[in-house]
Amino acid sequence: MSRRLSQGGRLIDRSRTFHFTVDGRRYGGFAGDTLASALLASNRTLMGRSFKYHRPRGVVSSGAEEPNALFGLGTGDRFEPNQRATMTELYPDLTALSQNRWPNLEQDLGGLISRAARVLPAGFYYKTFLRPRVFWKHVYEPVIRALAGLGHAPAEKDADRYEHFNVTVDVLIVGGGVAGLQAARRAGAAGLRVLLVEQTAQWGGRAPVDGAVIEGKPADAWITGVLSELQSMPNVHMRPRTMGAGVYDHGYALVYERVTDHVSGAQGPRHRLWRVRAGRILTTTGALERPLSFAGNDLPGVMLAGAVRDYVVNHAVTPGERVLVVTNNDDAYRTALALSEAGVTVPAIVDARPGGGGALAEAARSAGLRVLTGTAIAGLSGKRHVTGAALCLQDGTGEVTEQIACDTVAMSGGWSPVVHLWSHCGGKLTWDVDEVMFRPDPNRPPTGADGRGFVEAAGAANGYLATADILGDADRAARAVTEALGRSLDDAPALQAEREETAPIRAVWTMPEKAPVKLREKMWLDYQNDVKVSDVALAAQEGFESVEHAKRYTTLGMATDQGKLSNINGLAILADTLGAEIPAVGTTTFRPPYTPISIGSVAGEARGDLFQPIRRTPLHHLHEAAGAVFEPVGHWRRPYVFPRDGETVAQAVEREILTVRHKVGLLDASTLGKIIVKGPDAGRFVDMIYTNKMSTLKVGRCRYGLMCSENGFLMDDGVVARLDEQTFLCHTTSGGADHIHAHMEDWLQTEWWDWQVYVANVTEQYAQIAVAGPKAREVLETVGGMDVSKDAMAFMDWADGALAGIPVRVFRISFSGELSYEIAVPASRGEALWQALRSAGETHGIAPYGTEALHVLRAEKGLIMIGDETDGTVVPQDLGLDWAISKKKDDFIGMRGQQRRELSRPDRWKLVGLETLSGGVLPDGAYAVEEGRNANGQRNVQGRVTSTYRSPTLGRGIAMGLVRNGPDRMGEVLDFPGTDGVVHRARIVSPAFYDPEGERQNV
């Protein structure tokens, strides 16, 4: 059984007991435990079920690489699936649920699949569920999805808050083991700005557990000393519980801090995603131990040797009473010694190497432990937990030589440097035959803008396993980074660390080496996805020879752990099957994040009200109070309509239109773009920007103008007012202000940099209010302060003045066809003017109107709307706007584009009005069909609807559309098939449906 040892535990505090719940059952643990160590201490070794076969799974590691011990943590709006028990610090009242089991973890019906495992090899789904085809969607997939999969998605909205944090540093050091600490100390002493992050809560990494002795001191003491040294350096920042998640171009890195995961009921943000801009990135990310592939190696009770040692030393937990150690390298002997010291029986150390180990093996023998060399595990006994091991010769085929009773197997297949962050941005690896590992190739680092490497690996992450080598490599890397950043580093004597004489590792990819298929079918490579040695071999045989193909065919290295334990073993098997060298097969791509990070941290503050910036006009709060229905226009929210009690939206729109036509309406036009263009060359500039001749505009007058892209397509439109000889005020569409401002700056900065013109976007300086309708003048006269009579202010005039004591600029322009004034007022006074106009208009029946009424009013007049009548493929000539294109100018932006044959073709689709024969409303976007079919068998078309409304003014449906040769075909009737199956028939008419002479606005 697994249990708590009576003594020891360098991380736990036995005076503080925490209670926690798993699957409704209460357990106890100590402060400093992880969920995994606390469960092991409570003799709970079954921690999950595998993805495909629902095999029972126990914890296999003690860290970030854990594939098995995954739980759903928390409840309700704080539930999160697939959390690794090994990385979950225990806190009071922690609540966890096991995953991928039904009805419960002990009696999982899905486990029946396991019995069929032999007939479910790699590619089984692809081969089996092909026919009948409709079955995949309706039968196979739903059943498979119900059975497979790990945790369930949260059902409630996340209650926690998240945030980002931006820092710029000289060096980001990822990994707070002794290499990271030493490198930080050196880089810090050189005066660099250093950020050192460590994914766990503890500093120092494996060194204390492994018994390192540095400068004559036990590792713990050395670490404490270095930590206080680092804390005294103002230029060094350290963060525990913070993982280097990803490395990106130009020294950008994402770093994931778990701020309050380890505390219950904390006030702060749960996770903080650091966006680090670093001059150099130093990865001291350590190494991960590899499993060994022997039959039955997925049984609960089989663990990594280093993890067993961690639990014993860090948490005073032994995973079993009789722990068999199996290895191909010296490091696992440390586990045997640690167990033995803790009083746990180690029945034997099974070493695959004929020559056995070095000094540590000697120490084990001296401690009275039995060492079997050249030996392997032939198989394990036990159904839901290890009960014994059968041994055999490593170089044989698996004939059993001995049976050993044990309840735990501690295995070590060697160590793989954590090269993920080195590789994220293109760092290459080299295969080290002697050390049996991929390590970073220092000649092929990820390179930055200067062509030099910006990531440096050091310590175990760089392939060094002995403490003395690790510290020496950290010094080297710190120096390299410091000098790359143009600083110098004083020479410091190399640190002294004890070093044992070691025997070389032996590459062991299966146990025994010549294992027959019967054994290979029971050797698990990937615990999470149930991929076995036989599956990878089968993939290779079936032609999935690329490591990337084999991964996808077998699912090796997929899901939450991304093959941290399985990748190297898997590709070694692939290489072996293909008869290729391991480096020729290569690794799959390492992609960020290193381990899964929360979606909340990625979103940061951008959720709820902060999901997207909402632009509000100075009158926005008044519209909200008035119950307006809003619509998005760019990032603005504009009132679509102001419904009154008992009104439908359609009724309210009709009322607002009729109010403007018969009385007077108020429109918040503040979102209209307002760009000042000023300078001696301003006239020349606006002549280039607009298709019209703008430079001839007289001070005090307004003119409607069009702006085209270089290609000649209509881009934006609006009214230009000339403020003085050198100054124009250009109005743009609501959505176009920023874009047009940038367009102007672009031309001024890159093409006409010698023209004396400045532009300024003053859109938000003003609230702009349109007063439109036959009573508009009376309302302004009631407000008082300016002469707005026809004589004083003719159509298309503007004037500065004051209304109700508020400074204003009034433009007599109209987008509705009615008598209309648009009044610009400083934004801070917008509310005051709006209220004054409403009061003054009360007796005239004034009412605010929204964008839908605005649209219908302009359509009744046949006025185009950018984005309705235009879509980026329409030139002004298509819209009958030839009058707005100057023939007198030598050039304007878009002029040459419009001369291209396609854009000047005589049979282009052109703007017309459309009137249904029935009086109904044409469907928006409907196409006018004609005879015949095109090459794709579709009906030929000759036009389409661009705007369509019910006009309450005319009491019928009106529409605008683009029709081939439209203006020459007045009176023709076209067919518009709707998506409702009805063919709508409409007659081509002039688009000016209402008051075509413009008499109403010119009063």
């Binding site: 931006n166 100075p618 990032h635 300086q765 005051a832």
Partner: protein
Amino acid sequence: MSDVATPLADASFDGFVSVSEAPRTGMISLRGDLSDTALREVCGAVTGAAFPASRGASLDGSHGVLWMAPDEVLLLVAPGSVPDSLDRIGTALSDRHHLAVDVTDARALISVDGLGVRDVLAKLTPADVSPGNFGPGELRRTRFAQVAAAFWMPTEDSARVICFRSVATYVFDLLCHAAAPGGEVGYYR
């Protein structure tokens, strides 16, 4: 004037630093030749502050000159003195190509005050706000989360953030989120 509405209606929030709408400040955007003595002099005359270096914020109390671009400064003046200041600039630069416009109402100005102000800024802007690279006397034009913003530090423990009026609520809410209790980072000590 009671009918003058500020973008945030004097909103304020107390977190581990406080966030509040700053008193209404007159703002003039001035574009021109920043090396021109006449331009520099008139900036000093209307603000009482020295002319800043590139990326600088030169302040005399709540008035000052903010460097916005190689050909643009933002002048901070008393709200009531904007028309007079525009007149003085127009007169001083009458024979020079320039553009001066009132942008008082186009912007919102937010104060962030208290220890930890740099941490709050760093949650929202990618600009380097570390003491060696940024501090009183400096200005950054950058972004806060998804919108454009500029900021400067009147003192070591306070910042002023300027943004477009239409997104004042968004930026204010961002700052409140960043300053909410429990969110102390303790990075900038």
